[in-house]
Symmetry: C3
Subunit: 454 residues, 3 copies
């Protein structure tokens, strides 16, 4: 118990220090300048993605923030015994990551006045970054304590911002929904952190991904929230009012086909039981992840249906055949299966986007060319040139994510930060765990006694 | 068990076939034309209801899609033991119905170019159609398997589109919130399917509607979602910016009065216990259903209060006195009580709308006349003429729904599609059923063993 | 049992009477005038707060209504054993309060024509009022029956409207997010009602605030909803499109810092266990409450971080040290801890707002001065004069709330309204209480038998 109290006090101290640091940095550098209209994205404003129309920043901001919380919070609640505890840790990560991302992303757009100007669009970018952090934490859930998660956030956010800046601003890549910058980056970063943190005894608990005892209610709710809000999140940065519903609709089509695909393949791959709620949630996420890059490039709806259908198949096959290999051969434990749900679809989405970029013609796109591929519209690049750059961004991001993840994992694994090896299953739990059956006091007490961060 | 696996494989095959079919039809016919601005609803665009202002399609689209999922998913979770399983089936139905509705509704607006153009408004129409399908499935929940549900969707969607086209486009009926086209149609279609599927042994399980063991948490959440999103859904197609909040506010007033009415009548009708969460959910739905047609016709708020108050009383009386008659005399099993929650209020809403149409004067409506009753505003019709057409639409819709439902039910009842009579309670469950008490592994296994689609 | 049935019938009668009364008053006085555009707030329209831009009323209205339901419904579900029952009572209160508030607030803006004109903005104001009523009910939850709650609503709403009119219209106070008019007023009103209703035996059940057996799932969901919607609610009345995102962002920053503060102080103050989900919910509410007044006054984000960080510390310290004093010395039972979550932060927010008002300069605010401090912008007042008035509003509101609460509590405590002293724990439950473990019929029946309003 004393050890648990000491751990919580260390966490308290870290939270205090981080918040103080953020307050000081905000006081020194962050302003709501007179230029930060909701939609304006000037070099002075801190926004790394194209700006929406003025006055339209508000609803998208809300959806994006919502998505970063709900969709992933519930995905991370995947692991049955960690129930509400995962959501608390996610909240802590989100509360810090949003502030830290505004600073880190602002660094790359430092205005001549030496200030970082924030507006609604800055929050959207910060939420995209937070989403990547949550994806990464999904890979290591249950095997890190909150202190390690906060430090992972501290290190991952600047790396995310750096990769995003290189891809979107320097290389002129189009990735409005984050297939590459968010899903793929977050997944592979997390997987490398997981690998660096591997412990021998973890193999004994190979049941971590066994969904036999999940509280499916959370997964069900999470799936519904994904359907409601993720399409808005994924299309939050598509520039023109004319383009926006296409990206949105493409995501919906992709998610619909992905869901039907789950019903197709699941009974074939998994013979012992019926479909699980979490698989439907994964199907929805996969459908959205693959549409991240291609969402605003697809000109016909059936392409979205095909992409979603294929991505879901790929994800399910990966979950069935690839994850065991990752685990046994490469020693990469993937608690929430982020490789199948975010990694593979993110890569597939990038390849689809590359293909579509190469096929883009001014006739087909018309006025939309300027918002989707501005450099091609200006004439600075050809469509195939754009496709080549889109393709090059893939290994670049994967390398950055892998290197960053390995380094971060090595740092997190130092003895000072690790919890005692005696109680690995108590890590990541900051909430007193109360079973859903709140009317059973005896079981509650027993659960409580055994589950506090001791 | 082998039988359950065979059933799931048949479902997998059907899903694959349906998705393939949809992909092919989309590839052949469906486009995002350059005309499909978010708000534009030209003859080329596929939208069966009046269009909102350009640029305003986006938030309504999100709400409508949300409503089709949440409100009904939780209503369908009414039946305790089916918990999360119903939501999965609903998701499957929604994922397919949305695609199929876009095609079916598009058929009636086939452009000269031979293409179906979709935009945000098309999605709203598709969601209205999906809502009707979910209402129908509420009548047969627990007595059909997912294959039958998918086939019911396959048949109901074109019939819905046909009825909607006749009413809104040919007869010039005003029904922006779907009292008649969605609620009444869906309810009576489902009831006739239920009648055609009746089995003698069902009478033994007359307890299906007994709410004694519901997971009220789902009903509570569903009620809250209804309050949040249904008014937006129901007013999603009111044309002018000036009209829109009136319809919205009328729905809120109607739901408020309907809720108070539940507290008034429930203790009188049901003496043995306190109010149930599902009754509050029903009250909210009833208040919205009755406002579907009249929502934008009511010029004073108190009319909405009266309508909601009366509709709720009617619904509760129907639940108490009419449902047993339907069940015993007419052999119509109504699992989720859709007749009381959607059928009766839908009919009442139509009658109220008819009355208000007859009373409509240019002085009272002013500029709004053109959006609510365009034909009357143009002078092609008198107000009483409009009222006469509104009234004629009622038996027309009921006949179409009843005939379509009977035919569909007869088809679904063929031996090849029916599950074995030994396990009727296992139908409609595609999810492994996990009780909310996820920490009780013994009970979980027992439940699992007894609840998979075997 | 007979007593429970009699109580439910009395409640039914009261609901019928109140709805009838409201219908009659609406029929006589309430109209959707041709002037009630979504955004217009003329003297004829019933809106007590500044109007947003035309056409932008719609999304804020939805968020505000949502917030009044969800955020507080779940906060009020704090008390474990009352689970879904509290939400039903909250729904009843909301359904009535919204209608009554429209009438009461409309009274103060009676147009020359003798009519009350309502629009979307009126609903926002009515929701602010409803929020205050829910806060007050949080103080007495578990110790009042639904009849007493409805009568409390009947009395509190006009007092709220009166206080709001005096502050915002007569004194020209700026309080767009309701730190003073909603949070402080609601909290202290409820506390005085609680004091007037005190009973000796309540001291025996000092465990009411013991969160040991809460259904944390509700608190978790409530927290997420707060993060999503409260910032929109709190900034629903900030006038200009340019100002709006600042208030919104300030609320987010305040909530983020408040959340981290919970992780800082909680392990220090509470040694026996880990953080509870409800504490995170409280942290989010606190961060929003303190930003109510200052949200649109803060020109730099770090001020919001500091305010949220401090407010959360204050709230936790109050919960640890002040609540026991309130309970033992002043005999004020505070079931949901509304003093710490709404009272203290509301007062702190008022003080911060006063300070910022005094520091306001035309240079710093620019064009925003006119929307935040219109009288100062016109030159009718100096900044320090405005600050003085802001400060004077505090004791005025507290006195009005305290007096009104005491009177109301005295009325509610009359013998005729009180439930039998034998079963105080059965008050406030109108829903049949079903445990979350719906698959356990024996426990269900036992719970049912013991939990109906008998």
């Amino acid at each position: 118990m004393a050890e648990g109290a000491a751990a919580r006090l260390r966490l308290a101290g870290l939270c205090f220090f981080l918040q103080l640091l953020t307050i000081i940095l905000f006081a020194a550098f962050v302003r709501y300048g007179p230029e930060s209209d909701p939609g304006l994205c000037s070099p002075q404003s801190n926004c790394s993605r194209r700006d929406p129309e003025p006055g339209s920043g508000y609803p998208r901001f809300r959806d994006a923030h919502l998505q970063a919380l709900l969709g992933f919070g519930f995905l991370l609640a995947f692991l049955g015994r960690y129930g509400p505890g995962s959501v608390a840790t996610s909240l802590l990560v989100v509360a810090f990551a949003v502030q830290w991302a505004l600073l880190a992303q602002g660094l790359f757009y430092f205005s001549p006045k030496g200030k970082i100007y924030v507006g609604a669009q800055s929050m959207v970018s910060a939420d995209f970054c937070t989403a990547a952090v949550l994806i990464s934490s999904g890979a290591v859930l249950g095997r890190v304590n909150p202190i390690q998660l906060l430090l992972m956030t501290l290190l991952e956010v600047p790396l995310f911002a750096c990769n995003e800046f290189i891809l979107l601003s320097l290389l002129g890549i189009s990735d409005s929904g984050g297939s590459l910058t968010v899903h793929a980056f977050g997944a592979y970063f997390g997987l490398m952190v997981s690998r660096a943190l591997r412990q021998p005894r973890v193999d004994e608990r190979g049941e971590q991904q066994d969904a036999g005892r999940q509280p499916d209610a959370f997964a069900v709710l999470g799936t519904l929230y994904l359907w409601i809000f993720w399409p808005s999140f994924a299309s939050a940065t598509t520039a023109q009012e004319g383009a926006e519903p296409w990206a949105l609709l493409n995501v919906y089509f992709s998610m619909a086909a992905s869901t039907l695909a789950a019903f197709v393949l699941s009974p074939i791959l998994y013979e012992e039981g019926a479909l699980q709620a979490a698989q439907l949630q994964d199907a929805a996420l996969v459908g959205a992840a693959v549409m991240g890059m291609a969402g605003e490039m697809l000109l016909t709806p059936f392409g979205a249906l095909v992409a979603g259908f294929l991505a879901s198949h790929l994800s399910l096959l990966g979950s069935r055949f690839l994850s065991p290999i990752l685990s046994s051969r490469l020693k990469i434990q993937d608690t929430c299966g982020v490789h199948n749900v975010h990694g593979l679809p993110g890569v597939l989405g990038t390849l689809v986007g590359t293909l579509l970029a190469g096929l883009a013609t001014a006739d087909a796109y018309g006025g939309r060319m300027e918002s989707v591929f501005p450099l091609v519209a200006q004439g600075s690049r050809t469509a195939s040139g754009q496709a080549w750059w889109q393709l090059c961004a893939l290994p670049l991001t994967l390398i950055l994510a892998a290197l960053g993840g390995s380094l971060t994992g090595a740092l997190l694994g130092t003895r000072a930060l690790r919890s005692t090896p005696k109680s690995p299953e108590r890590e990541s739990k900051v909430l007193r765990e109360v079973p859903e059956d709140g009317v059973n006091p005896e079981a509650s007490d027993e659960e409580l006694g055994g589950s506090t961060l001791a």
